[in-house]
């Protein structure tokens, strides 16, 4: 069950992206980016395992549910899984702030890539504002999601935080 926890938690988030929350049009990028962020975090957290193929599968599910370009969120999740794995190799530094910084840089680049990819897909310049807003919101939400996933994994935050992130104590 523990090994399935990352995939199940991301699946839960994918379903949540499809629920009619009544969010304004500008906020439509936030929930899918939370899914991408969760993939990134699960690949970053030492000991947790979310296979890239699983990340792609969950991204495809998000694509199918959103009715958007098939493969778009799968690609975003795969990139997050790849980068998250690389960022995970920094765990010896154990600085929450560093992970946050990596996510900030990563989501900025991912946003630009996503915007270009979507513009290419539709052969017209897509409105960039919702993407920028979603990316900014995801940066603000990063610690909440990260600690939330740690809580999901360990049942508590304190111990896990102290053992994993030196800078947090």
């Amino acid at each position: 069950m523990t090994s399935l926890l990352p995939a199940l938690s991301v699946l839960f988030a994918v379903v949540a992206t499809a629920v009619p929350w009544g969010l304004p049009a500008d906020a439509t990028f936030i929930l899918p980016l939370v899914v991408v962020m969760m993939v990134f975090c699960w690949r970053t957290i030492p000991g947790a395992a979310l296979h890239p193929a699983g990340a792609v599968g969950l991204g495809l599910l998000a694509d199918l549910m959103s009715g958007g370009p098939l493969g778009y969120w799968a690609l975003m999740c795969l990139i997050a899984a790849t980068v998250g794995r690389r960022a995970g190799s920094l765990k010896e530094s154990r600085q929450v702030g560093l992970y946050w910084l990596i996510w900030t840089v990563f989501v900025s680049l991912l946003g630009v890539l996503g915007w270009l990819l979507a513009s290419l897909y539709y052969f017209r310049w897509i409105d960039w504002w919702p993407i920028a807003f979603g990316a900014a919101a995801s940066v603000a939400l990063f610690p909440i999601v990260l600690y939330g996933l740690l809580w999901v994994r360990h049942g508590r935050i304190g111990h896990a935080r102290d053992t994993i992130f030196r800078g947090a104590s």
Partner: protein
């Protein structure tokens, strides 16, 4: 070669792991292929999408219950907070509507007399089914919603979808029990419309924002903010006279603010308007013989009209010809 100083590269990197690297490459390739197939609208992709949406329908319906209830609770709380103002407003509106009711009755009588003088043909009745939005399939590039009505309910691709306020969009995918509605403000949405009392022709296009663009207006067309926009029916798919919204903006940059609140849809009705052009959007083969008429609910028909339609589209039909499937 000098070792790079960044922590990213300082640690020993794992050596080439062929299966893992190949798998990653394969996954990237798969995503690229899927994007291309999705772009060209490959049939297999659409079938897979419809199949999965159908499968996930019950789960989404269940998952959306808390969100819908929470939204309703918030709406109710807001309503309670502004209850006194709302009562005053409704009283005033009620008085105005009474006057309108009287005027409408006079006009209806006059229209009926003129129609009988002209020996005018009765307009076809609009059959509709009402369902609920079960999933908010809106992404940064897509403005769509999943509803709990499908081909089993007689729904076909291309049908207009309305709510109490006005036109919401049209169906673009239909599974057995779930359908996808492309909302008015989606990037791919194009609705031919008539604007204002003069009925100026135009095209309302979505651009993923809250309002629609108003394009292809005749040169020198004079519009005013607040002019009503309604469907022209010239695409041969949507019925004429469905309320879309009102004109905003100024000359050269006219926009349309939809009547329907597209961000928080709940109950919607699908109009079973079988126009000839539907053969293009949803060929009979795709419908598997489950066309709107063949699958009209077997229950006793009730008299009903489309709530969002202007009189042109919502001619009161003879009671026996009307069927309403409500879920």
């Amino acid at each position: 070669m000098r070792e790079r100083g960044s922590p990213l590269f300082r640690r020993h990197r794992p050596s080439w792991n062929a299966p893992v690297e190949l798998l990653s490459f394969g996954l990237y390739f798969l995503c690229a292929v899927l994007l291309v197939l999705s772009r060209i609208g490959h049939g297999a992709i659409n079938e897979a999408r419809n199949g999965l949406v159908d499968l996930s329908g019950p789960m989404l319906e269940l998952a959306s219950v808390p969100a819908i209830e929470a939204r309703r609770a918030m709406d109710r709380a807001k309503l309670y907070m502004a209850a006194f103002d709302e009562v005053d407003r409704l009283k005033k509106e009620n008085e105005e509507l009474r006057q309108w009711e009287w005027r409408t009755k006079l006009l209806e009588r006059k229209v009926a007399q003129l129609r009988s003088l002209l020996n005018a043909v009765e307009e076809p009745a609009l059959v509709y089914a009402t369902g609920r939005v079960i999933a908010d399939a809106r992404g940064p590039f897509v403005r769509s919603a999943l509803i709990n009505l499908g081909r089993k309910d007689g729904l076909r691709v291309g049908y207009a979808v309305i709510n109490g306020d006005g036109l919401v969009g049209r169906t673009v995918d239909a599974g057995g029990s779930v359908a996808r509605v492309l909302l008015l403000n989606d990037l791919n949405s194009r609705i031919p419309v008539l604007v204002g009392p003069a009925g100026v022709r135009g095209l309302a296009s979505g651009d993923n924002s809250a309002e629609l663009q108003l394009d292809f207006l005749p040169a020198g067309a004079t519009l005013y903010a607040g002019d009503e926009v309604y469907t022209s029916g010239s695409d041969g798919v949507l019925p004429r006279g469905l309320r879309v919204g009102v004109v905003t903006g100024s000359a050269g940059a006219y926009r349309v603010r939809p009547y329907a609140e597209l961000n928080s849809l709940d109950a919607v009705s699908v109009l079973f308007f079988d126009a000839p052009a539907l053969a293009r959007t949803d060929p009979p083969a795709a419908a598997d013989g489950m066309g709107a008429l063949s699958a009209a609910p077997a229950q006793e028909p009730k008299a009903a009209t489309a709530s969002a339609g202007l009189p042109i589209a919502a001619v009161a039909p003879p009671a026996g010809e009307q069927a309403q499937a409500e879920r």
